[in-house]
Amino acid sequence: MKKIGITTDCVCDLPEEYFILNDVGVVYFYITTSTGRFRDGYEIDSANLIEYLENGGEKAETCAPEPIEYKSFFEEQLKKYDEIIHISITDKVSLSYRNALEAVKDMGDEGKRVHVADSEHLSTGMGHVVINAVDMRNGGSSVQEILEETERLKKRVSTSFIAKNADYLYRNGRVSKTVRDICDTFMIHPILHLKNGRMTLKGVQIGNYDNSVKRYIRQELRHSKKIDKRRLFITHVGCTVKKISEAKAEVNRLCAFEEVIVTKASATISSNCGEGTIGVLYINEN
């Protein structure tokens, strides 16, 4: 039986312990500041990056690994596995998928043992896809079966976040200054979600942020009967323990999940939405 390795990008925001326990290979994104270039999740985390930016840090660019880095990563993984399935962040927000494909192309025949799948999600939305792939691999599924299921699953994953303000969206050029100012003035909190791999505005909440988060969670879980109850991720950027507890309590009040897992967003994801952002990410039933 072929040994199948599952690998992914660090921006799936799954805990490090999960990677170690399940032998999931991880490729790190990079954050480049004015002083150096650091691996996301290994050398720099979201708290570091937010603090750096809040304290006047001028430059903080995020980037995916280059094709050559993917190539050496895949080559290393192929020493342990017969075939690899690499699940990447959505192609619409990062070059990661394309770089991985280019690396596979460069590998020639060896590249045929590497299969790159676009999750069409990010953060723990992508994490759901990775976990599913790992479960299927552990259950003895073949590469083809895993890839097909991944294609089906990604349509059912719900990835959304509510941001405290539009500051970081403005920083990354996703909204204009006027929109940011209007959001600030009128206490508007944008809700972003992934649709067909693209990040779009799903809606807004207005008013006190804590209450807005609760309303967002209620809105997301209003069709709880259609949600897969096995697992829900609450992924956040720099939220306090108290805020997380409140969010978790709200989730549990609305819907009983077998597992509610709290994770921190990676620096790459955090740089797009800012401190205080929180999301509930789950899978819809078939």
Binding site: G36, F38, I44
Partner: protein, 908 residues
């Protein structure tokens, strides 16, 4: 709140103001149309709206201009509308709405101006338009009520705004006061730290001297070592406090320089081992051998951070492991240096992780009551790493353990790995640590990193099988494993290298052919073993004083205007066997540097005529690279916050605080002497023992004179101390008279210089009370408190006289035993003096001759017998003058002095 936030808030307020203005304009426009008001009014409203919109969104127009124009337009719109409206009461809602609009700007004057406008409008309606009727009581009542409503609203707004402004002012004042308090606190901390550090240095230094003695019992040595360790710990805390206050005030400067991570790790491990003491925890070190051997960074601060993290890990771990991992990731600019410290300690809860890097806080203080510490370490570490352009992270699980990690970007100067193995292919090593999985993995990992064949065995049988294989070159075993197989290892040692890895505290003696590696063993210690470098260090040697090195070829120039200070410095440096040259002034030092090669200069800061900084500038300007690169270290008694940075800015390389602390001196010599001159200590260095004079009587009753203290400052050498005392007693009367003269002349500048010198020379001999009084008067002189000097100079003079008497008594009572004393090395050179000093002697000689005082002339000749000026020995002139004076030939003696003046071009 940042400046950008303030600007953003003002702009947001401006936009809010525009929104409300537009709303009002629309309402007024509607009123214009439906009430059939003049057309020009509508045009005016439209123009105002357009102009204000442009001003609000134009990036170059300041908010202040926008708000002024908004006010102007609001007033004109409202006034125009109010006079259009026949009934003044219709306008009340508009007036109040406008008042609320104005209150957005929180300007009381603006609101009052608006109130005036309303009054003008009211007068217009009452007296011009006659729209207000006072015919009936009802009319009057309506008028009063409505005006009252308006006035009440205005008064309310005025009070509200005033209160808000007052709160803002109070807040600003509180912030300014807090900042000022912060500033005072930092200054206070710096001063107090300095005051505490001086006696602490004395404690540590005295322990150093004691540890140098041979013949101490083990328990005394152990106790002394513990006192020294505790003293250093306290010094470390004080340094932390100082560092923190520097960081908070933004004054901490990093000093990047090339360094080798190996020396950092060595120091960190030694310090961590010392801190570990009897705890049942093991320190494991994992270092990537491929880290470049030359990297650029502030090694002192990097080491400080690692030590902080290790100290915390050890503090909060009772059993298990503390693992230090150092690795790298290659980048275009060099590498990212990654350091992590993981422990199996108590861990940290999520809530406490949020507070972790906050200053002055230890988490879970109730539970950690027994854990000492100021709570500053992590805060300082984080700020240092941030300043280096790096990041700090922490992961923890409560009850399981924690991992602190930091990364810093560094440039590389030498790409070669910092650990290399000679002929790795020829090495086949076996590790035997029983079934200690962690050790086995660690050992094999080291082998993999070093690219060497390392294997582990887990049983005696496996060991025997591997050793029978025949090609094993090195065996590494744990202590228990060795003890259980001592005979076998003894046999293996005949053909292979055998190393036993054991703890320092309970190390066992090993046969000569079996070597010891003290834990923690890691890539460096294993590599040294494989490269056949001797890693064994005797326990007793470690507990004894740090062995000084020898540098007989090094030439060191010490410049100080004070002869006693010179003697002290020479005494302290004698154990290094360097060639010591002295100079008593800046000009003398400069002359010396012109004519001979010097490897290192110690330059006193405060000297008359030309201070150390001026002298350094002249030296640096001299032609030739040699003078630019010559290491010059400042000697100063004022070791306050920021002084090192000041010296470096002035062209010096470093500074050494007086009284000189031995370990600081050692560090300076190691850093600045050419490495080729540094030799290992000789056997006589190890055996060196300062013999105590029989019959020496410390003056225990007198608090004014403590010979033990003085002896400490002269490096423990009795002979050097006697010389210094003799010089002190000899020069004392003259100095005392001179200080009094300066006091009478109110020559405060030179008075301060003299009492400054008196402060350090008195402390050097152990005359603490006099030193403290001299210090008080020095500070008074510097701060302009001449009243204090006038009040206390008499006291100083009397005390000085008493100390001189005590010293004379002491010298008289404690004659050296010539058969037992070793004489200290003396400098063969005459001491160069400055022109000013020579002028002083010339003046005194002339006075003596003019006053027919042969004895005074003889005394002067004695004083100058060790001095020279521009290479000319002065005893030649003064001695001849003294002989002539003794023969009552005072005129000829004066001619001799005149000849000296002519030849040296120095006169009174």
């Amino acid at each position: 709140m940042k400046y950008t936030d303030v600007v953003t808030n003002k702009k947001t307020a401006a936009k809010a103001g525009l929104l409300i203005f537009m709303l009002c304009t629309v309402i007024m426009g509607a009123m214009c149309i439906f009430s059939g008001w003049e057309t020009w009014l509508i045009i005016m409203l439209a123009v105002h709206a357009v102009v204000l919109t442009v001003m609000t969104f134009h990036p170059k127009i300041p908010v202040k201009a926008q708000s002024a124009v908004l006010m102007l337009f609001s007033f004109s719109n409202i006034f125009s509308c109010s006079i259009m409206e026949n009934d003044i009461y219709q306008s009340i809602a508009v007036f109040i709405g406008a008042a609320i609009l104005i209150s957005v700007y929180k300007d009381v004057k603006l609101l009052l101006t608006y109130a005036l406008l309303i009054v003008c409008g009211a007068f217009y309606h009452i007296f011009v338009l006659g729209s207000v009727s006072f015919d009936t009581m009802t009319d009057i009542t309506h008028f009063i009520v409505r005006i009252s409503v308006m006035l009440t609203a205005l008064v309310f707004l005025l009070v509200f705004i005033s209160s808000m402004n007052k709160n803002e002012e109070e807040l600003k004042e509180s912030v300014a006061e807090a900042r000022q308090a912060e500033h005072y606190k930092s200054d206070f901390l710096a001063n107090m730290s300095h005051e505490i550090r001086t006696p602490m240095n004395a404690i540590v230094g005295m322990c150093e001297l004691i540890l140098r003695e041979s013949g101490l019992s083990e328990s005394v040595r152990e106790n002394c070592f513990n006192i020294q360790t505790s003293g250093r710990s306290l010094l470390a805390i004080i340094n932390d406090i100082l560092d923190f206050s520097k960081i908070e005030s933004g004054k901490l400067e990093l000093i990047p320089d090339e360094f080798n991570i190996a020396s950092t790790l060595n120091t960190v491990i030694n310090m961590s081992e010392a801190r570990r003491r009897n705890k049942k925890i093991e320190i494991i070190v994992k270092a990537d051998p491929d880290i470049p051997r030359g990297i650029i960074g502030d090694e002192v601060r990097i080491r400080q951070v690692i030590v902080n993290l290790m100290t915390n890990a050890i503090k909060y771990t009772e059993k298990g492991y503390v693992t230090l991992t150092v690795s790298q990731s290659k980048q275009d600019y060099g590498i990212n240096l990654l350091v992590s410290v993981a422990d199996t300690g108590i861990g940290i809860t999520e809530e406490n992780i949020e507070k972790l890097f906050t200053s002055f806080r230890q988490v879970d203080t109730k539970k950690n009551r027994s854990v000492e510490g100021t709570g500053l370490g992590l805060a300082i570490s984080k700020r240092l790493i941030t300043q280096m352009g790096g990041f700090v992270g922490v992961k923890s699980e409560y009850g399981v353990g924690s991992e602190f990690r930091f990364v810093i970007p560094v440039k590389v100067t030498d790409e070669r790995p910092f650990i290399t193995i000679k002929e790795p292919q020829s090495i086949h090593a076996v590790g035997y640590f029983g079934n200690n999985d962690r050790y086995n993995k660690h050992f094999c990992e080291i082998g993999r990193q070093l690219n060497v064949d390392f294997r582990c065995c887990e049983s005696d049988e496996e060991l025997k099988t591997m050793s029978d294989g025949g090609n094993i070159t090195h065996f590494f075993a744990g202590k228990e494993e060795y003890i259980n197989n001592a005979e076998l290892f003894g046999q293996l040692a005949e053909k292979s290298e055998v190393f036993v890895i054991q703890e320092r505290l309970d190390a066992i003696e090993l046969p000569e052919n079996i070597k010891c590696i003290f834990k923690p063993f890691y890539a460096i210690s294993v590599a040294s073993a494989l490269n056949n470098e001797n890693m064994v260090v005797s326990l007793n040697e470690r507990r004894g004083s740090d062995i000084r090195f020898s540098a007989p070829k090094a030439r060191v120039l010490i410049v100080d205007d004070n002869a006693i200070n010179l003697k002290v410095a020479v005494g302290l440096m004698q154990p290094y066997h360097m060639q010591l040259i002295t100079a008593e002034s800046g000009p003398a030092a400069i002359n010396m540097l012109r004519s001979r090669d010097i490897d290192l200069v110690f330059m006193d800061h405060m000297m008359p005529e030309m201070d150390g900084i001026e002298a350094t500038k002249i030296i640096r300007d001299m032609e030739g690279d040699y003078y630019k690169k010559l290491p010059i270290v400042a000697l100063t008694a004022n070791a306050v916050n920021g002084v090192r940075e000041m010296f470096i800015q002035e062209g010096l390389n470093d500074f050494l605080a007086k009284p000189i602390e031995l370990s600081a001196l050692d560090r300076i010599l190691r850093n600045y002497l050419p490495k080729k001159y540094i030799e290992a200590p000789t056997a006589s260095d190890y055996a060196e023992n300062d013999r105590r004079k029989k019959g020496r009587k410390p003056v225990s009753e007198s608090v004014m004179f403590d010979p033990d203290k003085g002896l400490m400052y002269t490096g423990g050498s009795i002979d050097a101390y006697r010389e210094i005392l003799e010089m002190y007693a000899k020069k004392g009367p003259e100095k005392r008279v001179y200080i009094d003269k300066l006091f009478e002349k109110k020559d405060w500048k030179n008075y301060v210089i003299e009492v400054h010198a008196l402060k350090s020379t008195s402390l050097s001999i152990g005359a603490v009370k006099l030193s403290e009084l001299a210090k008080e008067l020095e500070l008074a002189g510097k701060s302009g408190s001449y009243g204090t000097i006038e009040k206390k100079n008499g006291m100083l003079s009397d005390l000085y006289g008493e100390v001189i008497d005590i010293v004379n008594d002491y010298l008289g009572e404690s004659e050296p035993d010539d058969t037992e004393n070793e004489t200290a090395e003396e400098t063969a050179e005459l001491t160069e003096i400055s022109a000013e000093k020579l002028s002083e002697y010339i003046g005194r000689a002339k006075d003596a001759c003019a006053g027919f005082d042969g004895d005074a002339m003889t005394a002067i000749a004695d004083e100058v017998s060790d001095y020279s000026y521009n290479g000319k020995p002065l005893k030649e002139y003064f001695g001849r003058a003294a002989e002539l004076a003794e023969d009552f030939e005072y005129d000829t003696a004066l001619e001799e002095i005149a000849r000296l003046e002519a030849e040296t071009e120095v006169s009174v």
